[in-house]
Amino acid sequence: MEAILEAKNIRKYFKTPKGMLHAVDDVSFSIPKGKTLGVVGESGCGKSTLGLLLLHLESLTGGQIFFEGRDITNPGKRRLKELRCSMQMIFQDPFSSLNPRMSVSEIISEPFRIYKICRSPAEMEKKVDQLMDLVGLAPRLRQAYPHELDGGRRQRVGIARALAMAPKFIVCDEPVSALDVSIQAQILNLMQDLQKEMGLTYIFITHDLSVVRHISDEICVMYLGKIVEQARAQELFRNPLHPYTQALLSAIPRPKVPPATERIILKGELASPIEPKPGCRFAPRCIHAQDRCFQENPERREIGQGRFACCHCI
């Protein structure tokens, strides 16, 4: 399968008073066209920064990004504006990602005005209507303001805005985390329908493992700026290899009574991502950690077909 987007050893360090914060450290992956890559991890693992890097909403510290086979690491101003048509983003918080002073139709039509692609107001209106219909927003909401909408509808507005320029690739940063389960299911279904209909490729960033399993074809598990394991969604859940993935999966409270008895409870908390020590970042909390894990950085290795992990013990 042809990859639509490829990241090679991308890095993002932030300067802080205490030293360099390694938000994303040497991350590589590729996404085939029309598929969904899930990125899971806990807060502070760098998953959101990763999404922003791909869209050039943060600048890279190092590494390369390829989109449809072309190097877009340093796109230049004009190429960047073109890229923003084909690469879009859906944001986490439907409450703060919409300008409170703009109406629904103004928000959705803003891309048209930026790229000046509508010849008349009537044409623009027609396009807005089509988009609203596509994401399941009633036409009577055109003039509504974001504060008048509930979370699910706001997220639909955010999706419509992202779809306005008919993108090929969308970064979805926790798009359903702020929503209740029944609304969450509506939005997830919508996103899957849109993907099929328009052949979209998604990067789906979330901390929710059941959501990521549902929507993803392939999953990357991140820990402190590194991808520790990458596998097909079902493979990962059937047979997690990395000790962190194992602990993460075992930590999900499952809606089953009686609950599972066996579970791995990790010791301690996330270490600081500022000037991290050499060795495996997960070693301090790992039950299998050996001396080697504290000294040598584990390399990304291909374990099965299309399956990668960073661990000395596998």
Binding site: L57, M89, F91, N99, I114, E148
Partner: protein, 289 residues
Amino acid sequence: MRKGNGEKRKDGLWTDAAKRFRKNKLAMAGLVMLAILILCALFANYIAPFHYDEQNLPAAFESPSLRHLMGTDNLGRDIFSRIIYGTRTSLSIALVAVLVATLAGGLMGAVAAFYGGVLDNVIMRFLDVFLAIPSTLLAIAIAAVLGPGVTNTVLAITIGQLPGLARIVRATVLSIKGEEYIRAARSIGAGNMRIIGLHILPNAMAPIIVQATLYVASAILSISSLSFIGLGIQPPTPEWGSMLSAGRAYIRDYWFIVAFPGLAIMATIFAFNLIGDGLRDALDPRLKN
């Protein structure tokens, strides 16, 4: 609480705010007071029974009566007429000064906040120097250097208020800049100008308007203070502060010479404060839900 899932109403946020403002009795009272003041300023020639400079020495120090509603001063001038004309001076100077201070200070604050880094530091440290001096004191110093007069009073008050307004605008813009919808605008390819004009400014307007209104009140006080100590508006131009100052020699015997100009200052400041508070309540989205 959500209201009716937002299907019925088609009002904009400003209309909403206007509705809330109208419900606020105190704020409306302030607005009515301001309207009266503005009418006085505009139609002073018709309202005032005498010209502000019309002297009538034999009729000096007359107590309030039907002919002279607020009495006459040491030169026999009608105090009521002078206060009406004084509205013109005080309001126009205060409004112009605050408008200029808001525009200039707003621009500096917005640029500092939006571009950040060195530019932010240079602008804000420069303004900090001014902020270290109380604004009235600063205005006095400037007026003392430039000399009295209308233009110089405007200038002195503008410079005195600019740093404070710049700080408020900077803080507002900074917090809006961190909102996710700014990043969202960037992600669909919006340029800096569009982001400032369409996304940041409309959202920054509300708190800036509120602050500017409250600054008008303090500007009026500053004008009066400057005139009181003889650095602001010069006689014979009627100005409440200079009326106070001129009358203070006779305060023991003729209370009305100072009481009415003092009341005028108080009422105007009160009106602007009421309006400012009302605007804040009407525009603050946090109180909204």
